[in-house]
Every structure is written in structure tokens, then in C-alpha cells.
């Protein structure tokens, strides 16, 4: 897009009044794009819906094809940065990359289940990274309504693990 304007001398910034006038003109005359440039300034304005082409980076995020262990990897791409892919509601996300464990050991019961009410310091799972088992706390309070990964799954940074709702 228009590169930042340098205007070292110019004390004031863009004159919003003039910009509003220009926008008014653009609307009146059904102008879709305007691109003005001189020594001091560069104005580039577009009206109307943005075309599909303008957003390949975002759309690719969802389409990233992955090989085996694909499901986890694909899920990893559906982190908060791409909100459309995140399950509705509030989620608790992986604070690191590693292997997800729902219980302290195979013999133990899971830390939480659907319906468990958690506080911000409740341990909700472990993520193993470099042979170290990290206890993960909820960091939020609420009721677990969905567990989004399986015991033993590999998870990426920021990947949603649990969906919660207010109590």
C-alpha cells in the first residue's frame, strides 16, 4: 500500500478534512480508486468491496496441505490468528509446541473433563516438550464445553485445546 510519508518538516499530519472532502468527491463521482502522488505526499484510496485477490495470504492459511500427522498440523494452523477457523466461543490454547497429555499418567484420571469448572490456576493438561512434562494451567476461568485434541496428540503453539464458556 502507500508507503509511509516522510514529511519531516511538516508539523501536522494528514489533513482529515481534506481527506473527507476527497472521499465525498469519490462517492459523488463513483470513484473506486485514486492514487495521488507528489513530492510531499502520496495518497492512495480505494472504495468498494475488496476483490478476492487481495487476500491470498489469509486464505492460504486454511488450505495448507499437510502430510502425516496431518490432522494435528492442520489444526495447528487454525490458531487464533485466523479467527474464522477457531471453534466458536473462548478457547484455551497451547502455550508451547509439544505432545498433549490429558492426565498425569496413563493410570491417572484426566485433569479435566467436559463440564469441569476451571479457575485460572487449574491444571488442565500437560504438554511434553524436550522430555519435560509441563503442567498447563487454564489461565482463564469457565466451564469446559469441548476438548479439541486427543490424548497423545502433537500440538502447535497457539493451537486451541479446550473450549470453555462462562459459568
Amino acid at each position: 500500500m502507500a508507503k509511509p510519508v516522510e514529511n519531516e518538516e511538516k508539523g501536522d499530519s494528514f489533513d482529515l478534512d481534506r481527506i473527507r472532502k476527497l472521499l465525498q468527491l469519490m462517492k459523488t463521482f463513483d470513484v473506486s480508486e485514486i492514487n495521488l502522488q507528489n513530492d510531499d505526499e502520496s495518497w492512495k484510496i480505494r472504495r468498494g468491496p475488496r476483490v478476492a485477490y487481495a487476500q491470498p495470504a489469509v486464505s492460504q492459511g486454511f488450505a495448507m496441505p499437510m502430510a502425516a500427522p496431518a490432522p494435528a498440523a492442520v489444526a495447528a494452523t487454525a490458531a487464533p490468528a485466523t479467527p474464522a477457523a477457531v471453534p466458536a466461543g473462548v478457547t484455551i490454547n497451547a502455550p508451547t509446541v509439544g505432545t498433549f497429555y490429558s492426565a498425569a499418567s496413563p493410570e491417572d484420571p484426566p485433569f479435566v473433563s467436559v463440564g469441569t469448572v476451571v479457575k485460572s490456576d487449574t491444571v488442565i493438561c500437560m504438554i511434553e516438550a524436550m522430555k519435560v512434562f509441563n503442567q498447563i494451567q487454564a489461565e482463564k476461568s469457565g466451564r469446559i464445553v469441548e476438548i479439541l485434541v486427543e490424548n497423545g496428540d502433537a500440538v502447535g503453539f497457539g493451537q486451541p485445546l479446550f473450549r470453555i464458556e462462562p459459568v
Partner: protein
């Protein structure tokens, strides 16, 4: 051989490594920060893991997260690329302690060559000329003055742990030497937690010439000739080329031999680069070893026909070099231009943003190594390099003509780039007849 490699880097070098692996039949695991999510090159890996938020310190520099991704990705080796953790001996050590091969040199060689004083000692032992100076750190000001009297002013004060110009001072006489020593030492203590400094003869307006090395784990060491990187700005290389113009053949040969001897002496393996400065009488002095693949490696690939990334991987897997020194031929002239998202009209300020239009140059002898495309957004979090335009032609004249032609074709809209500066550089008479040194760009443009 490795079946699966983790690429511990981003952008064009990550893409470059993924491509090499694919051709070798090796699967790749990519890692990415949230800022790089959705980049096209990640789709070319077999698997990709997000390892943290945008700042490199929270993602690409997080050793534990990268190792963790390597473990869940089930890889046998990690390729660090350049920058980030590429020259981090600790990272190499952690990888290997986890039974994951670090594609790079042995830890000991990295450590020894990473320290300027011990690197200098190794060079002296290998008979490689170093800039005259103190043999090791100077313990106090008086010793420094004595050394300066012996080698003559001007002298350069350098921090042993320094880099990028930090902890460095030039002194033209005893007074400025005394002042500079203190300043450099304090700066180095602050920046690198190591106050050790040494002094050496200051070479005025040198050229920067480096020699590419490959060494396997079976005692075979070869050089792949030299690259001239004198076209730089604030220690950032802008243009690299091979052969080094106007370098007498005898000097070139001696320099290449020195690099081989130095690497042998240090027990270094994998790909590496020995950097030299060359004064106007073609005396050359060893500066340092870059213990990794370099940004400018395609220059050497084009003139030798050898794929350096593939060789790195094969060496790390324990293979023998498939060629001897005599097999390696240097053909034609290759020149690389780094294209950066920086605004040359505004003091090279970074210019992140979306590339709204991209028309790439092409045709015979033209290679553009880049991960960007129309619609790609240059992130403000990482270095500003968009890509590398490399041309290979029979002669330097033809390479320059080709580069000018490419620059005329090249369209990048939406962000400011260094292309306008590139046009001026490739049209400058001093560059064309190569009357340049490492200060040329800053003095001229």
C-alpha cells in the same frame, strides 16, 4: 541418509532448504511463527508447526520449542539456515544431545572459530596471514600502546566477542588509542558481557573477499573459489560476485589454499566461509570464519554447478564429498543482488507491507531466490530481505548487462525497496570497472 529434516528458519532460506530436501527425497518439517502463518513456502514442507508468536526471540530463537517440534516431527536432523540459531554452538549441542544431527560444523570448531582471538591463533598456526596486531587480548593500555608502536598507526580496536561494528574503534595516534580502548571495552562488556579487546593494524579501504569451503567427515576439504563482497553498506552486503574482479590469479589461488589449510587446522566440517580483507596491494588478511551457509551461496552454486545446501545435508549424513578439488571448475561470472524492503530515499528505513504488484525478471542465466509473491506481506519482525537476484553469464560485462536488464523488468509495488539504489550501483562507473572497497557504497550513494 536422513529421511526427515526440520528446517529451523523462515523465508527464502527455508524455502531453499525445503527445495533441496525435496530433490534429495528427504521429507521436511517446517516451523513458523504466527507472523509467518500461511506463507506459501510452508505448504511445500511435509509438515509445519507453529512455534510461537511473531518476535524471533519467542519463536525462531526458542531452542526448546524447535527441539520440541523436531521431536513431534520425528526428524533425524535440523538445518539451521543462516541467522537465528545457525551459529549458536549451544543449539548445535542440544540438537546432538537429543540425537538429532545439527547440519553444520562440530561444536568445538564453532566455538574456537567463533571467538576472534582463538580463530586468529588457529589461522597463524595454519600459516594464514592475519592483520598484524596483538597476539590475543591486550591486558592493559600500556601493552596496547607498545603493540601499536610496533605495527604502526592507524590501529583498530576490536572486541573479541564483537560483531556488526559493535565494540570497534579506529585510533590514529596514542591519545585516541587510550580513549578508544576504554570505550570499546565498556561497549563490549555491555553488549556481549565480555570486555576483552585486542588491537590490530587498521587496513584502509579494503576489499572484502571470502572463500567458500566444503569439508566432509572423512578428512576431505575443498574450496569452491572466492566471492567478492566489497559492495556493502554498514556491514550489510548488497552485491556479491565471483570471480573477484581484478584479483590477480596468484593471489586468488593463495587465498583459496589458505582457506583450505585453516579449515583443516581447525577440524571444521560442513560448509563454511573464510573471510579476508584485501588491501590495495593485494595483501590479504584473514578476518573470520562464517560457520554456516551464507546468504550469497548461490553465487558459488552458479559458477561451480555444485548445490551447496545438498552438500551440507550429505556431509552431515556422513557422506564423502563426491568430487575432488581438481573436479571443481569455475565457469563464467555470477553476481548476486540482495533486494531489501528498505527505502533508500529515507535512510534505508524498513518498509514492511503488502506486495501489491510483482513482475519478476527472468530469462537465460537469471535466478531469483525468494519466498515472496504478489499479495505477500513483508513482516516488520524479521530482516528486510525480500529475495536475491542472481545472474550467471560468460563474462562480468554480460552479467552486468543482464542485471541492468533485469532491474528494468523488475516491478515491486506496495512497498519501498532497494531496487532504485541497485540501478544506480549497477550503472556506476566505479562499480563497472570495480574501483571499489567496503566503504564505496556509503561514500557514494
Amino acid at each position: 541418509m536422513f529421511q526427515r529434516i526440520l528446517v529451523a528458519n523462515r523465508g527464502e532460506i527455508a524455502l531453499r532448504i525445503i527445495r533441496a530436501c525435496r530433490e534429495l527425497g528427504i521429507e521436511t518439517v517446517a516451523v513458523y511463527s504466527e507472523a509467518d502463518r500461511g506463507s506459501h513456502y510452508l505448504q511445500l514442507a511435509d509438515e509445519a508447526w507453529c512455534i510461537g508468536p511473531a518476535p524471533a526471540s519467542d519463536s525462531y530463537l526458542q531452542i526448546n520449542r524447535i527441539i520440541s517440534a523436531a521431536e513431534i516431527g520425528n526428524v533425524q536432523a535440523v538445518h539451521p539456515g543462516y541467522g537465528f540459531l545457525a551459529e549458536n554452538a549451544h543449539f548445535a549441542e542440544v540438537c546432538r544431545s537429543c540425537n538429532i544431527e545439527f547440519i553444520g560444523p562440530p561444536v568445538q570448531a564453532m566455538q574456537q572459530l567463533g571467538d576472534k582471538v582463538s580463530a586468529r591463533e588457529i589461522a597463524m598456526k595454519a600459516g594464514v596471514p592475519c592483520v598484524p596486531g596483538s597476539d590475543g587480548l591486550v591486558s592493559d593500555v600500556d601493552e596496547a600502546v607498545k603493540v601499536a608502536d610496533r605495527i604502526g598507526y592507524p590501529v583498530l580496536i576490536k572486541a573479541t566477542a564483537g560483531g556488526g561494528g559493535k565494540g570497534m574503534r579506529v585510533a590514529g595516534n596514542e591519545i585516541s588509542l587510550r580513549a578508544g580502548l576504554q570505550a570499546a571495552s565498556a561497549e563490549a562488556e555491555k553488549a556481549f558481557k565480555n570486555a576483552g579487546v585486542y588491537i590490530e593494524k587498521y587496513v584502509e579501504r579494503p576489499r572484502h573477499v571470502e572463500v567458500q569451503i566444503l569439508a566432509d567427515n572423512h578428512g576431505n576439504v575443498v574450496h569452491l573459489f572466492e566471492r567478492d563482497c566489497s559492495m556493502q553498506r554498514r556491514h550489510q552486503k548488497l552485491i556479491e560476485e565471483s570471480p573477484a574482479p581484478k584479483l590477480p590469479e596468484e593471489v586468488r589461488q593463495r587465498m583459496c589454499d589458505c582457506a583450505v589449510n585453516l579449515v583443516r587446522e581447525s577440524g571444521y566440517t560442513n560448509a563454511g566461509t573464510c573471510e579476508f580483507i584485501v588491501d590495495k596491494n593485494y595483501n590479504f588478511y584473514f578476518i573470520e570464519v562464517n560457520a554456516r551457509i551464507q546468504v550469497e551461496h548461490p553465487v558459488t552454486e552458479l559458477v561451480t554447478g555444485i548445490d551447496l545446501i545438498k552438500q551440507q545435508i550429505l556431509i552431515a549424513a556422513g557422506e564423502k564429498l563426491p568430487f575432488t578439488q581438481a573436479d571443481i571448475r569455475h565457469t563464467g561470472c555470477a553476481i548476486e543482488l540482495r533486494v531489501n524492503a528498505e527505502d533508500p530515499e529515507n535512510n534505508f528505513r524498513g518498509s514492511p507491507g503488502m506486495i501489491t504488484k510483482l513482475r519478476l525478471p527472468g530469462g537465460p542465466g537469471v535466478r531469483f531466490d525468494s519466498h515472496v509473491y504478489e499479495g505477500y506481506t513483508i513482516s516488520p519482525y524479521y530482516d528486510s530481505m525480500i529475495g536475491k537476484l542472481i545472474v550467471h553469464k560468460p563474462t562480468r560485462d554480460e552479467a552486468i548487462q543482464c542485471m541492468r536488464r533485469c532491474l528494468r523488468e523488475f516491478v515491486i509495488e506496495g512497498i519501498a525497496t532497494t531496487l532504485p539504489l541497485a540501478k544506480r550501483m549497477f550503472n556506476h562507473a566505479n562499480f563497472v570497472d570495480f574501483s571499489v572497497d567496503t566503504t564505496f557504497v556509503e561514500r557514494t550513494f
